[in-house]
């Protein structure tokens, strides 16, 4: 009982702004909860295999709880199963299809999020015209869900919008996103909108749009971080972005992990005491655990992005 609870958060890739922000939450959690030690680790390359190896080593080390932001949920199943078998508590994030987890924290419903981005795009485009979408990689489950959610939304609600050359891979590289956006602009000079998925997509698309002098004529919406997208929000090349605060997600994951270690349960409608997770919905997941969904998404545009300093 004297031994502190040891919670390790494993992220997709270490060092980038997004997960640095998450680390703020992870550290804050330890500071706020004596008797809990937390830390965050992640692979040096964005490769599901490297993440799998990290988790493997943690299982060997037998920490109390592992909180994972899965690069690719299915690839982690067996190792998480071993973790559970060894009595390690497992919490996941961005993995509503993960079976071997006790609690999966979702900031929101992915399809709804994609649809919501698409609604904003449609409003900007005047609900008509050609649009296209980008994803960081076709292998990224949530990003593909957002793009598909957007496509389904447009197909249902906006008959005058046509999706062209959908789901171009940007390889999580702003330069590639830029090149793809350019090429799409050449092929469809009359394109009206882009929906980005990786947080780097809007940066690349924004630059392409800006360079072509199309600010205000072509609408760009997507996931992004305020600090990163600021330049393009200011210039009008990017109309708006959406995100959820990784810090809060980090807090939520660690909170859930602590509760699991302490033998507590998360119930429907519960308040985790974290913004966006004040009234969570809990439903049964595909496996042994539950999916806890918050309402943590944040939408910003030129006017209000400054409120978020990350």
């Amino acid at each position: 009982q004297n031994k502190p609870i040891d919670i390790v958060t494993v992220v997709k890739i270490t060092g980038i702004s997004w997960f640095n922000r998450m680390e703020v939450g992870v550290k804050e959690f330890a500071a706020a909860n004596p008797g809990v030690t937390t830390r965050q680790i992640g692979p040096a390359q964005s490769d599901a295999a490297q993440q799998q190896r990290l988790v493997e080593d943690l299982v060997a080390k037998k920490v109390d709880a592992i909180a994972v932001v899965s690069m690719d949920p299915p690839t982690l199943e067996p190792v998480l199963k071993r973790a559970l078998d060894r009595g390690i508590k497992v919490v996941t994030h961005e993995a509503d299809n993960q079976k071997n987890t006790l609690v999966d924290i979702e900031a929101f419903d992915n399809t709804a999020y994609g649809a919501r981005l698409n609604d904003r795009l449609a409003a900007c485009m005047g609900q008509a015209g050609k649009w296209s979408s980008l994803v960081g990689s076709l292998g990224s489950q949530s990003q593909v869900q957002w793009a598909d959610g957007g496509a389904a939304n447009a197909a249902k609600k906006y008959p005058k919008m046509t999706l062209v050359d959908a789901k171009n891979e940007s390889a999580n590289d702003a330069e590639k996103a830029y090149a793809k956006a350019k090429e799409i602009l050449r092929k469809h000079p009359d394109i009206k909108g882009f929906q980005g998925s990786s947080s780097l997509d809007v940066l690349g698309i924004g630059r392409a749009v800006e360079e072509a002098g199309l600010q205000g004529k072509v609408c760009v919406y997507g996931t992004g971080l305020p600090s990163e997208a600021a330049k393009f929000l200011e210039s009008g090349a990017v109309g708006g972005i959406a995100f959820w605060d990784p810090k809060d997600a980090g807090l939520a994951m660690n909170k859930a992990a602590m509760m699991l270690v302490q033998g507590k349960k998360i119930t429907d409608g519960m308040d985790l005491g974290i913004p966006g997770y004040n009234k969570v919905t809990v439903k049964k997941g595909p496996g042994v655990g539950v999916i806890v969904t918050g309402q943590a998404w944040v939408e910003v545009d030129k006017k209000n992005y400054k409120q978020y300093a990350f």
Binding site: Q52, A60, P74, G139
Partner: protein, 337 residues
């Protein structure tokens, strides 16, 4: 004679020293936590994927003429994806026929690896393509086809007992993937040392022209080399599929360079003609030990890259400093890349 050679092999000596050193450091700094049986099992089951790919790279390098196989991980994933996509069509109810499913899965994956390797081999031996260019292209083709088959996302496989056992169970405490790896390593080691194939491959890598004059058929050997490499890749693919219960087009995209790193650190000569499987084993083991040690000691993963780089350079430096006088020829041999 064999014993004398073994001890005097500078690469092997260096690798053994490194492995022992890492083990000692890890044990001391982790206050003994490192010496946990589960930890060793965990490392032993992580090693095979990379190890098998590194064998493929090593074989291609040994064959000479700028041989290298960059397509290993691409083919491994493709083999898994093809098997995962094909098996549901062949076996309707995997749970009812777990063994049929598993054996079918393995067979389809192996055949895919065989065909992929044969494509490489054919292009390089008959088509005369530069290996680095050819396997870079086929690596993209393999990964690309896997993307086409899966739309890029990962595909779960039916987790029937036998297949899950391949990835996750142990026999007498030794993880099955490790057993497979060691068995294949021994097999390849045996092939290289005692079989006609291996001996001819070394000769071919040493001097292709002389090999031709001596009636050694380069085309057939090169073809066989890449086929073996392809099959080994598909075994890696099976292990990956079994260990992750899924298949994915771009799993292990960071393995490409690491596999080459393992091979060169094992002393495989990039210009052909030399390379030992024992060294390959210890080279892979050293990287795994280092990596797990760093995770255990909570050292940044970026620093691990630094350490790998330094380790490789130290390896080269050690060969330069202390053994130079005893191996006057190694200088000339090591030179050109």
């Amino acid at each position: 004679m064999t014993m004398k050679l073994k001890i005097s092999d500078p690469q092997l000596l260096f690798l053994l020293v490194i492995n022992v050193a890492i083990l000692l450091v890890a044990t001391v700094f982790s206050h003994g936590d490192f010496l946990d049986i589960y930890n060793f099992q965990s490392m032993a089951s992580q090693l095979p994927e990379l190890g098998l790919l590194a064998i493929g790279v090593a074989l291609a390098m040994i064959s000479g003429n700028g041989g290298i196989d960059l397509s290993g991980i691409g083919l491994a994933n493709l083999a898994g994806v093809v098997a995962a996509a094909a098996m549901p069509l062949l076996v309707a109810a995997p749970d009812a026929a777990p063994w049929t499913y598993t054996l079918g899965f393995i067979a389809v994956a192996l055949v895919t690896g065989l065909l992929g390797g044969a494509l490489n081999g054919w292009l390089i031996s008959r088509g005369n393509l530069t290996p680095i260019l050819c396997t870079l292209g086929t690596q993209m083709i393999f990964t690309g086809l896997a993307v086409v088959l899966t739309n890029g996302s990962s595909l779960r496989i039916s987790v029937v007992d036998p297949i899950s056992a391949i990835g996750n169970e142990s026999v007498l405490g030794v993880p099955i993937p490790f057993i497979i790896f060691v068995a294949l390593l021994l097999l390849v080691g045996w092939l290289m040392r005692y079989s006609l194939f291996g001996i001819k491959l070394y000769l071919l890598g040493t001097n292709a022209r002389a090999a031709r004059y001596a009636g050694i058929s380069q085309n057939r050997l090169r073809f066989a080399t890449y086929v073996i490499s392809g099959v080994l890749a598909s075994v890696a693919g099976i292990i990956i599929a079994a260990r992750t219960a899924s298949v994915k087009a771009d799993y292990g995209n960071s393995y490409l360079l690491i596999a080459i790193l393992i091979a060169v650190m094992a002393g495989v000569r990039p210009q052909g003609g030399y390379g030992r499987m024992v060294c390959l084993f210890f080279s892979a083991l050293a990287l795994q030990l280092l990596s797990s040690t760093f995770n255990l000691l909570e050292i940044s993963n970026f620093f691990r890259d630094c350490a790998w780089g330094l380790l490789l350079l130290c390896f080269l430096a050690s060969a330069r400093v202390s053994w130079r006088d005893f191996f006057p020829n190694s200088k000339a041999q090591l030179r050109k890349s």
